[in-house]
Symmetry: C2
Subunit: 408 residues, 2 copies
């Protein structure tokens, strides 16, 4: 028997079924026209933002990293809730523009920005988080050609990473940003050549559950920003401190102690050095804002036995839930939080393997999991599906097509 991960709070039982936004899983599937289906919960998005605003000092803004979930309805819902949007491509810029988000609230990071992407961003007035000297030169040249002063921040490759983070974004050689020691020269060069100086972006890691690690990383980021701002000379307009706050996916994971992170940050920002006194501060969060707000629903198509093992074969799978299948940035597969949505809250009574419909042994949603007995037609829920689900999965694989997505 292998445990499943912890189900996020805020999901209710109605008539013995999982309910999201007050509606049962079956009702949601009927409304969406079938399975597989991603359901994103407005109430969860709102609650998470309220928690964050309550915990963080007012001085620190919150940006949404669109790549976590670029569904148009999610972007539109986040628009009035967050201070800014971080994009990773011209495609994401188009999604933000379609949602009516002012380009002045958008910044664009990514190590491989094409000229056409730089041009679209500069023309729109988006801030570029410049990833290298070469990209800086290209941005200046495009700005000159367009007759627009490009808004540019520099993304820093810090010499430290967030300890214990699921994905380290700093420390040692990286394709992201500019090594810290070269940042002042690059920043001065950009300013001298007509860029509108927008400050620094320092991202140190992601998916960390340890408040201590986040506090330490934020202290390091503020120290580094101070040093760099002093070396650049002059006040820093903005500092994107990165994100890093994780969500519990696996057995034993516990939520970040947000109050602790917020208190430490409040203490720190109450006592900023002169060079950061007027700096606009923000955190950039993706998964933390939307991950727990999403549930992936799929239907049991077959219930079969093989050599004493029960398989629930669903119409979902890794083509929508690559990370949950254990095939994306994971070494040892563990079970995401999951449940039989149509028998929600019922006692576990049998050990089952919940698999997808793809013809590959990689397509697993839950291994050796204790579940109430499910029959063909029952719905399976995989939680923590709000971030890096639909778009971070190979939806064209085997020709089943993408899942539907709704915001409720």
């Amino acid at each position: 028997m292998k445990p499943v991960g912890p189900i996020p709070s805020g999901y209710a039982t109605v008539d013995g079924e999982l309910a999201i936004g007050g509606r049962t899983a079956r009702a949601l599937v009927a409304e969406a026209g079938g399975t597989p289906l991603f359901v994103y919960s407005r109430a969860h998005l709102d609650a998470r933002m309220a928690e964050l605003r309550a915990a963080l000092p007012a001085r620190v803004g919150v940006n949404y990293a669109v790549k976590a979930n670029p569904h148009p309805a999610v972007i539109a819902h986040m628009a009035p809730l967050v201070d800014g949007f971080d994009i990773a491509s011209a495609g994401e810029l188009r999604l933000c523009e379609a949602a009516g988000i002012d380009a002045g609230r958008i910044s664009f990071a990514g190590p491989g920005k094409r000229d056409a992407e730089l041009e679209a961003a500069i023309a729109a007035g988006v801030t570029l988080n410049c990833e290298s000297e070469g990209e800086g030169a290209r941005a200046l040249a495009i700005g000159e050609r367009l007759g627009i002063a490009p808004r540019i921040a520099v993304r820093v490759n810090p010499s430290f990473a967030m300890t214990g983070s699921g994905m380290k974004m700093g420390g040692g050689p990286k394709q992201f940003g500019v090594d810290a020691e070269r940042v002042p020269a690059l920043a001065r060069h950009l300013i001298a050549h007509g860029a509108e100086w927008r400050g620094l972006h320092i991202f140190t890691g992601s998916q960390t559950l340890s408040a201590e690690a986040i506090i330490e990383a934020q202290a390091n980021v503020l120290n580094l920003a101070t040093e760099l701002a002093e070396a650049i000379g002059g006040p820093l307009p903005k500092l994107n401190m990165g994100g890093g706050l994780g969500i519990p996916y696996f057995p034993g994971d516990t939520p970040v102690d947000l109050a602790k992170v917020g208190a430490a940050l409040a203490e720190r920002v109450a006592d900023l050095p002169e060079v950061l006194a007027g700096t606009e501060l923000c955190m950039e969060l993706g998964r933390y804002l939307v991950g727990e707000a999403g549930v992936y629903l799929c239907r049991v198509i077959d219930r079969k036995e093989s050599h004493g093992t029960t398989f629930l074969v669903t119409d979902g799978g890794l083509h929508h839930q690559l990370a949950a299948s254990g095939n994306f940035g994971t070494v040892v597969r563990r079970n995401y939080p999951s449940a039989i949505a149509t028998r929600y809250g019922a006692q576990g009574e049998e050990e089952v393997n919940i698999v997808g419909c793809l013809c590959t042994p990689l397509d697993r949603l839950a291994d050796n999991a204790l579940m109430p007995r499910a029959e063909v037609g029952d719905l399976v829920a995989v939680f923590c599906a709000g971030a890096y689900g639909a778009t971070a999965s190979p939806s064209a694989f085997l020709g089943h097509g993408p899942a539907a997505e709704i915001l409720v």
Copy 2:
């Protein structure tokens, strides 16, 4: 320094550039309208099929597993070359129908076939590789409703797997097929209830480079098919023996000794037991037919240094080449065969990390690889990109969109 995998044979140098189908990488990119681009080579597809036909006994047909590469031009090219097509979804059925492939040549495997998919397949006259008793019952019911005798084979979960295969598809509890000991009863039930009996499908593994392992698996498959056919009673119309032939991806990998596989199979099929005397035999191959025929081309967008390491940042990445990035079914990342396409055949002179454009450290195409010096604008080639590339990757991730694909 980490070596890259072996570049498949048949790729030439023209004017110092990689040439595919006699045209240089730059010319192909210009024709396709830009990078990233998958180029599939007719000459490679033809050569591989010719090798197979020469090596295999005439008695054994070759089916193409569409999931390996469902690009419409590739399906159309394979149509006259192979004997049959194996599909894994109604989506793949539509692609085969669009290519004008007769449904009588198509079989449909997959553990999670929805009712609508069963219905589409039965209505078209496709052979279902039945994965369970439950699926068999659904197929019979749908056939009855449509007034069509469904063509059904049974997919067997054998008690053995192919030794040394990259992905085991048999042995122990599996979501695929029906445990061998239950197959005779199911087959007799299907026949008794009006199915058009199409025989057995026994898939034991994939991506094996050892001729001995393949020969052993094929012997086991033929023995098992004999036993099952005798237990079912009556001649077996067809036997899909599965595939399993791998291609070299990584340093040290060597091609399958096809002549040896073919010779062993010829010997075996010359001496088949009575119950298989009239059986139509085929192998089902996907990766082996198309994998080495594909090259993924992307462009160097930035060349940057970080703490003494050189990064070539491209406009491609794991959103098109998930397996090459080491994030799909892989535990230890190794380098796929790759090269600087615009300096093809030039001497290696520096160690570089070739990365994609996505904002994640998972997005790597080659680590610490010895390459000729490349500049911004050069093209990078990743080989062995013909199978499980475009569709087996999360093309919507970060909003860059899918790569172009051409057959030349």
